[in-house]
Amino acid sequence: MIGMYLKRVMLLLGSVVISIACMAQGAFTVDAPRVVELDESFRLVFTANSEPTSFNPPAFSGFDVLAGPSASTMSSTQIINGKRTESFQVSYTYVLQPKSVGKFTIPAASVVIGGKGYTSNPITIEVVKGDGNAAGNSERSAQATGNVSGDDIFMRMGISKGRVVKGESLVATLKIYTKVPIAGFENVKFPTFNGFWSQEIETPSNIEFVRETVNGKIYDAAVLRRYMLVPQQTGSLAVEPSEMICLIQIKSPAGGGQRSVFDDFFESYQTVKKRITAPGIHIMVDALPPGAPATFAGAPGGKAMSAKLSRDTVQANEAVSLIVTISGTGNINLIEAPKIEFPADFEVYDVKISDKSSKTNKGASGIKEFEFPIIPRGSGHFVLGPVRFSYYDISSRKYLTLSSGDLELKVGKDKGGNSGMSSSLSLGVNKQAVKSLTNDIRYIHTGLSHLKRGNQFFVASFTFYALLAIIISLFFITNSFLSKRIERNRDIAGVKNRRANKVARARLKTAESFLKQKLYTGFYEELHRAILGYCSDKLALPLSDLSREKIAESLIKKSVKPDLIQELLSLIEACEYARYAPDPGGVEMDKNYSRAMRLISDLEV
């Protein structure tokens, strides 16, 4: 409870201190016309917003002090809807008169308010040689002439630059200069700026007149409109004249019998209408030089660019933004969003554009921010950019390209989404079709060129026909070779068989006749002789040398089959046995004959 109370007291105390500080906040200003005539007396007022303890006036070199300082105090209290505002002013007024023509600076004056020192700004006053018709004395001149000449009031359109490149901004100011008091305007026609993108940057609601000299004469000048212009075309662009009708108050001409006593006593004014025109002007607009880089965003002027990601580590399916900030002088709000290529797996949404631009007398400047909202759909490590932005630098007359560095974005695995299903088995991922981003032709063939002159086709080439001829001739050659060989093989076997049969038949001719006559002994004698004769002829052995062992030995040497040799030997043995043995019967003779026949044929083949 006590703590609470203490707190409240502290708060109260704090607010009191703040209000005192506000009260004590001093300000000290100086006010004087910027331009005066040589023999004109004028007022110089120093104003402080609270009671100073001391005032230290400056030295007025070049001016005569006619009066002053005279101090005056003004305080006012206002209560509106229970809200109380107080203001307090102390002013020190001097009446000065210049001594000579030229520019004079009145140094700073200083005051001490609440123990704290404040100084005013030094002020420069231009003294011109006047013609006695100074704006302050305009009543007199108007009174003298009775009407208003073109010199007394005119309008003028001023431009900050006469020659610009397309897209470069310039400031046009429409000003009115007058020596006579103006009661009002009628039929104001402001110019239309054909070929320009125009914007009013200053439209004063109440016109404030400031003294200015034009051609050595002092006028009250006021800004009617200030425009920022951005030429959209090239060539000599005309700004149309602007015009209006001014209502000017002049004193009624003196003289004339109708004037009453009161007229003399109360000065009477009458209002005169005067049409004034600001002459049209021409502005030369040069085209931007050729060779603009592809990243040129369509605005000249000095610029700076920065690009950054709102976060550089995100999960998949989480939003992140790439923020590109472009700042500088020139027409910032005409800049288009730079083109950025994002990885194909990123979803990119519409660019958010915000700009803060200020338009001052010097032209436009500001900051434009492009925010690219992106959602990466897959995880991985991505490098975005570099973001490039080009502009036309007016001072160096060159295109300059700014480039941000590579922006790295780490995208982690998607954490959200299936968090609720973490306990159960995941059903797998959503399958995505492989999207075709764009179509392009396939790459060139880089392997063997297969360059050929003349005939491009194998089918009718010499090689083709040669291969065909080779196949056909190979066929015929193989064919004839094979058939010949078969023919020859068949012949040799036949001849051999035939001859072997013939030899055997010839050898066994006598034995055959004995067989037919059934002469037992004669048949075997003849058969034995025939076989031995055949063997002696075949093995080139003399008949006297022939023995069964010798025959077997020679036949083995001639590599005759062993069973044939055995057969032959058994046949010879059978013959020798039969010669000394009785006749066993007719069948044995026939059998032995055919055995011999076959044996000789086989040996012969």
């Binding site: 032709i441 050929k452 089918v459 190979l474 066929f475 064919n479 058939s483």
Partner: protein
Amino acid sequence: MKRAIFLFYFCVVLSSMNAQTPKELWASANNLYSKAQYADALQGYLKIEESGYASESLFYNLGNCYFKLNEIGKSILYYEKALKLNPSNEDLLNNLSLAKDFSLDKIEEVPDFILKTWIENINYSFSSDTWSYFALIFFAATAFLLLNFRFGSSSRLRKISFFLAIASVLLGLLAGYFSLIQRYRYTLKNTAIVMKPVSTVRSSPDDSGKSLFILHEGTKLELLEEIGDWKRIELADGRQGWITSLDIEVI
């Protein structure tokens, strides 16, 4: 005399320095293409073509270069040229269809007899050279089978060989026919591509003829006859007319 010899020598040296072999040109042009310098690569390929060489790969790469340089008509022309050399190349068919997407004219083709297109599709599934290799292989097989038939050891083998030999010789003849047909179509210069962005087809072979229809760059035409500078053409949908030779380029 000495000076003349020197000059001659100098000239020879110069010309030999300028002349690159087609292989070097090919390699350098491929290299330029890979660096996206399409115009320079194109010059290289064109130089090879000027020196009388041709190949499917060369025409294909030329088509790619023209495509990259946004000359769709030329690109289609070279793809079609390459297609005549090898109608079975997948890359080629892909790029040609893509290039055709960029040509303005849409022409409804009159459908052909189904068997004819079917046979044509079989024919165009291999290049002429492949078909001729097939033909040689089939003929060699036929020869082998015939020998087998004549000298086979068993009657069963001989019987099988006989029928296989008949089949093989028929296939060989078909392959040879396909191969020759492709070659014949290549030598037949009867198709052309429109080269001008806009070209008028007239009813008679002179400028006074009535304008029948307008063709755009990249459209394929069949040439029927020729009178002077004018060619009678037929579109895939059967419409006919006369077009000036300056507007088209024969494949």
